[in-house]
Amino acid sequence: MELKDTKDQPQRLHSLDEFLAEQIGQQTRFPSLRLGANGVSWSRAGIKLPSDGSPAQVFAKLFMEDNPKVKENQRRFLDEDDSILDVVHADAKRLGARMSKPDQIKLDEYLTAVREVERKLQRQAKWIDVPKPKANDEVIRGNDEVVVDLNYPYNTPVMYDLMVLALQTESTNVITFGHPGGNRLFPFEGIELGYHSLTHHGKRPELLRQLTIIELYYTQQLARFFDRMKEAKDAEGQPLLDSTVVLFGSGMGNASSHSSRNLPILLAGGGFKTGEHHRFERAGRDGRPLCDLFVSILQQLGVETDRFSTSQGNLNHLIT
């Protein structure tokens, strides 16, 4: 399914993380956390949602307590906005009464949006008085012994560390992290071309060599994240990784040709059966849509469903 297929039904773009946030994310302060410079999340209405690429801002959002004056303002704004929404909702209904049917259907979006915002405002109001968990800001500032570099691409390990902290402190149950793309020059020895240029390697060995350096770095950061997730313990004293499903991959199997087949996907944690390489043949008869994996993930996380988006089945027989 391509983006343009969903033009008439944008709801089809609802991404896995946002769906999960609705299902398992309502008990935490943040139903989901979207990190990284590249957004990869779409709401139920089919809107692409922004993500936060600044570790300092993410830290502030998760762990810095707003002072009483700010909280007072927040309470006041939430209250005021709630009353505004009541008035505009009623006015919209009045307006809609005189409209044609297609227009009424369109206006329904507005009415639904108002109700949804009211619900979220009320939810937010409840959390204002709950103190945020504490965390040491050395994760973004470093100290005399440890340097923390927030420049690209060295902010990658910092983001991963923030993710571990977020999960440990139960600030959220759903996190997405989109690595930055673009055509910036990786500041590593031996890299001479921008990242995007390297991904259009056209099979040239020189470009593949440089691309490998970058991808090695990112994979090393992922490995380091896994180590941290194994060291960190959840509330029951078990490694955090055991109760966390980690999905790592790309939407392209071959960036040089922009092919979205044969995707490289890595699944870890979450109590799945891991340690194996599963090969799937091309799309068509034996191919598997990625959503089949998503169905298995949803079921593992306790969501009662046997389909998601373009799924045709699930992969339980391979990983549970």
Binding site: A92, P102, L107, E109, A113, H200, S257, H258
Partner: protein, 796 residues
Amino acid sequence: MIPRLIIITFGWWLATGLQSADLQLFLKNYCVQCHGPDKQKGDRRFDQLTGDFTQLAEAEAFQEILDQLNLGEMPPEGKPRPNPPDLKLIVAQLTESLARARAAATENSGKVVLRRLNREEYRNTIRDLFGLKMVDFDPTTTFPPDDTIAGFDNVGEGLVTSDHLLRNYLYAARQVADKVVRPGPKPEMIRYEKANEAPTNTLEKDARAAAGRMFIKFRQPLGIMQLDKRRGVPAAGEYVIRFSARAIRRKSRYKDEDLRYNSNEPMRLSVSIDSRELGATAHRIIGEYNIPDDRTVEIEHRVWLEKGFTFHVHWANGPHGSFKRIMRKVLPKYNPDALYPARNPPEMYIGSGPELHVYTLGIEGPFYEEWPLAGFDRYFPSPPVSPNAEYLRSSLTRLANAAFRRPVTEQEIKPYLDLAERYLAENKDFWAAARYGMRAILTSPRFLYLNEHAPHSAGHKLDGYELASRLSYFLWSSMPDNELRAAAASGLLKTPEGLRGQVNRMLRDPRASALSKNFVEQWLHLRTLGEMPPDPETNRAYYEDDLENAMREETRRYFAHVLQQNRSIQDFIDSDYTFLNEPLARHYGIPGISHQEFRQVQLKPEHQRGGLLGHGSVLTATSNGVETQPVLRGVWILENLLGTPPSPPPPDIEPIEPDVRGVSTIRELMEKHRNNATCFECHRKIDPLGLAMEPYDFLGRWRDRYAKKIPLNATGNMPDGTAINGPVGIRDYLKKRPAQFTRCLTEKLWVYAMGRRISFTDRDDIDRIVAALPKHGYGLQELIHQIVASEPFHSK
């Protein structure tokens, strides 16, 4: 003779009368065995399909069948397969039926679906409603992007209102209200300028005095103590922060690892703002500047500050860690005298390592050109000393009349006024209540949507106010101004001369630049320009000369020129002029241009330019920053110049991987399209156009051959068989058929003007316009007049 006649008639009958039976037979022969009552491979069953494409589920099933046939995936090997002519026939039938089904499903019979303001329109409307300069103020930065339909983001059907957007509207309304509602006298300006500040530590003071300047100690912030003591700026507004700085000893005798610092990077100074009242979570970095080594740089940074905010500057990439660490761990390595860390005075280090020196630091503001603010004065004229509920109600009514773009009735405005008045009664704060009422009005569906309340009978006419809104959002992407509003109120706008007069006035107004920007960028798909920028190392000029913006500017000015001068729209196909500055001319290889600013330039044939096909913007946007993409260019030409867009490709097509080792040219690779009859059906129309454009590289530069002296072949045939060679061939083809491009541009402008897709009910009007335009020299202004005068533009 006779046998041939019979066969032809027989064939026709088959094609029109027995389609459904053809499909059923095809399914029975090739699909149902594995996808039928006995077996449902892949969970698919096709024996129960009736061929009713109006049913969504059927249409989707057939789309999938079509895709699999096009991909050659189905029927699978080992199973009976149709012969190529039969396959081609079925594919053609399915494609045709599905296209018709799609068109029918989205048919709007000429009615615009309730259309909300898109992001650009919202911003412009706020600008005009309150007379704000939107230079440093953009309340829409966090708004989600708008979806496009038929290529434009102002089509009602595609403009969704989500809870995410609504939250943004609430927040934006608060920002706008805070900025607009500023009662009282003009805030007094403050000005702080410091050249030197007494530090608290006496030793450092001596060291600095000896050095004679301020500097930033590693990562500590440097600010203006008086400002901090006074708890920030006294009033909200635009401030100018000034500083002068220089990087000293960026490379020093200390090794980078010891200082934990990168001496290869230029020193960077960042500016942040803080509010003591709001605490740490209000901290924001508002700018970063590279500081040169060889001279003192003077910087002015303009920023909007709320009351109570202060600012500081920081050495963003200075040595990590504390000064204490430097003195205890680093210094002794380099200075044998530094043996007693506890007693080493700072001046042993100061003057030896890298330092960021700030010589002056100042702030001035708030700057207001006029007072009271235009937007405030407009709705709250001469406020009484003790404004009361009456004044609140009358002011907000004034605002609603403007914001809702039509006179509001008492009944309509009552809930908003009651809300604000209740707030006033509870909080006794008049201006807070005024802001509150303003926020409610700006969140109302009467503001956020273009309301055309006519009941849903066919062809109902818009009233004057609705027509005025449609017109102003078409030409200005913003609300009607007072004169247009007055023309609506008096009925002048409903007369042909009155309407024409207003259109002429509006096209001459600076706000018509919105048309050159919003329509053109979307018509020509230029919004993707910049998404895949070329490699910075091998394309320095692109960045140093700011070519991306220059390319955009060329196209924008070109359109604006055709518009302002009412030139023939055929200029978009070819002309002997364009708009260039020196860097862009150099990029194109056009000699003799030295002006840095944009000017109209005469083109000669040897320049290989002319019309939109020679614009760098188009050529770069139809490439991916690394190589050209002929299929993309071919599709672009079909969609935006010929007006005959191809059907969408089947999904999951394995894209061609260009062989940039130089073994094959892109033409040779694209030959693969011939191998599959159904692929070739569309690609024979797309590929030749794209390949004819190959002389323009991925940044729009002209080339006679490929790298490594591989020859470049730009010949091909148009869909109707006409032979072409290179871009000139395409231009000549289009020049001989001016009606084709005329129709294409008319349809594009139509969608943008109406805010909806084209309907079958529009055919006659569009035909009429296409036939009439040659008599007016194909003038672009005339085309706009014709669209605005058409009946659909005046109808709901």
